[in-house]
Amino acid sequence: MTSNTNTPSDDSTPTSGDGIDVAHLSALARLALNAEATSEVASDLQSIVTLIDAMRTVDTEGVEPLSHPFDGTARLRADEVTEHPDPEHFQRNAPATSDQYYLVPRVVE
């Protein structure tokens, strides 16, 4: 893999390392932060970004990225049905269910 060309988004993206758009990031990460938390996080993120920016000076010309500690290859599974889940067993942990469904507030599509 050479470079990532994620589709640019339509709404405002953070524009540079020194202006981290915490509101945008917390929206993407689905974290409701109040104003106070947002400004605290902004300053923490700023120091973290300063910390990680230190690596940008390392020369990586011609170096292949390493995704796993050891370059390996996917191991495949035989196509067999091995799991026979019991919804009741798994739904003991669920905050809201009915007739084996998980329930969430109504979604408008």
Binding site: L25, A32, L51, V63, E64, V104, P105
Partner: protein, 486 residues
């Protein structure tokens, strides 16, 4: 139980019929109840199942079952899913989560007849170096009640150091076994990435997470590793290997090293270490045992912390997306929409450090930043791994400090996340390279235990364990207990 036994000592006592697993287990439970209100090293005590398993182990032994691990009490870090038992990962998010299945590590230890007495405290989702990030409160270092035990496996480290259990499982992403082991004066081993199955171990950063033993000595670490390790078809990153020494070590203990080792001392790890004295003494001891030292260079060491925080945060930010209040875990009161359900459940369920890492990872994976951060970090990761490869062409093992400082005071670093991250300085590079590394006690500083780190080539835990066991046969740092020496 007069004194705390090691796992091996308990194994022998059980074999000789001096004690039953039920007696040992009851002693352990009693000690936890007596001491742990002070330490807070456990989140959950599983008294009932422990007694049932101990009784079952005694029955098996009566029927002639002679496995060395049968009936040995231990504890699991609360990051491993245990069916029917609360499994929290130290988070409010999972404070009500009763795991519906067992982690492979949990199954393996139960199958070996080991008896889990409970689940140990930890930094939330294994993010932290002080165990102050737990929803269930901080853990206290048994050596000094004002100090932290290190993290994230701080509960396991403190429990072993205080003699509540002789062995506990831990997990290590950037140092979470080794750093608390060092700060609590115990032995901790992070195996090679892929050695121990990650299935059922709650993920922090998938390409770095690795489970391992935390014990009083190297022999016990080897004993636990032989049970924990092994290929797991449920984990695509599990290594399919057949190392004979792993089976041998269970029955015969750690083998003597075949020859004296050539031990590398990476320049970059000794520049700012406050650990020079005890390490120098350890070196002299190792020299007396015939080992030789050689200076080596790991030139990309400085980049390891930034690289680690980019990769670990990126992976964590998406690993933690599943905590959305829909199928399990914390859900906010009266959500008005799906959006509201997500945002408030996650805001309420996660602590500050977890949120910081999620946002850092979200940032570095974002449109326009991916190449500059994530991809760049993966390239440097390769350079770091290559540094180790080159070093291991000349030496058998590396010897370094485990942590820059001994146990620090509670609250000392909580306001400065970046300073806290520096705790991982010496442990993170090996995590990035996936190499096995262990921390063993090597002295004291200001009355606090210090650890030294032994780093081995991939899948050569036997070398580190062999050297550690030999060192521990000739020194007694690992025998010091809190309240005795200081």
């Amino acid at each position: 139980m007069n004194d705390v036994f090691s796992l091996r000592e308990m194994s022998r006592a059980l074999a000789d019929g001096q004690v039953s697993s039920l007696e040992l287990t009851q002693d352990h439970l009693a000690r936890v109840k007596e001491v742990d209100s002070r330490l807070n090293s456990f989140i959950t005590l599983t008294e009932e199942t422990a007694i049932a398993h101990a009784t079952a182990a005694d029955t098996l032994r009566g029927q002639g079952d002679k496995r060395p691990t049968l009936g040995l009490p231990m504890a699991h870090k609360d990051i491993f899913c245990t069916e029917g038992t609360l499994t929290t990962a130290g988070s409010k998010m999972l404070s009500n989560f009763v795991a519906p299945y067992d982690a492979t590590v949990v199954t393996k230890m139960a199958d070996a007849g080991m008896v889990s007495v409970g689940k140990t405290n930890m930094d939330e989702f294994a993010m932290g170096s002080s165990n102050e990030n737990s929803y269930f409160g901080p853990v206290t270092n048994p050596w000094d009640t004002d100090r932290v035990p290190g993290g994230s496996s701080g509960g396991s480290a403190a429990a072993v150091a205080a003699g509540l259990v002789a062995g506990a499982t831990g997990t290590d992403t950037g140092g979470s076994i080794r750093q608390p082991a060092a700060l609590c004066g115990i032995t901790g081993l992070k195996p090679t990435y892929g050695r121990v199955s990650r299935f059922g171990m709650i993920a922090f950063a998938s390409s770095l997470d690795q489970a391992g033993p935390m014990t009083r000595n190297a022999e016990d670490a080897a004993l636990m590793l032989s049970v924990m390790a092994g290929f797991d078809p449920k984990d695509s990153t599990s290594a399919n290997r057949d190392d004979a020494w792993l089976a041998d070590v269970l029955h015969h203990g750690i083998a003597e090293l075949e020859r004296p080792a050539v031990i590398g001392l990476p320049d970059q790890y000794y520049e700012n270490s406050g650990n020079q004295e005890s390490l120098a003494e350890a070196r002299r001891e190792l020299e007396k045992l015939g080992h030789t030292f050689k200076s080596v260079s790991l030139p990309h060491t400085d980049a390891a912390i930034p690289v680690y925080y980019v990769l670990a945060s990126a992976e964590a930010s998406t690993n933690l997306s599943r905590y959305d209040g829909v199928r399990y875990g914390h859900r906010c009161e009266n959500p008005t929409s799906l959006q509201d359900l997500y945002e408030r459940s996650r805001e309420e369920g996660f602590g500050d450090e977890v949120k910081r890492r999620i946002l850092t990872g979200t940032y570095t994976l974002s449109v326009g930043y991916f190449d500059a951060y994530y991809l760049k970090a993966q390239k440097i990761r390769r350079l770091i791994a290559q540094d180790f490869d080159k070093a291991f062409a000349d030496v058998d093992l590396l010897l370094t400090p485990t942590s820059p400082t001994p146990a620090f005071h509670k609250g000392q670093l909580t306001d400065d996340p970046v300073a806290m991250y520096q705790q991982d300085l010496y442990t993170v590079p090996t995590s990035l390279a996936g190499l096995p590394a262990m921390s063993i006690p090597c002295g004291f500083s200001q009355g606090l235990p210090m650890g030294m780190q032994l780093i081995a080539p991939a899948f050569r835990e036997d070398l580190a364990l062999g050297l550690a066991a030999q060192f521990q046969r000739h020194t007694d740092w690992h025998l010091k207990r809190p309240g005795e020496s200081n």
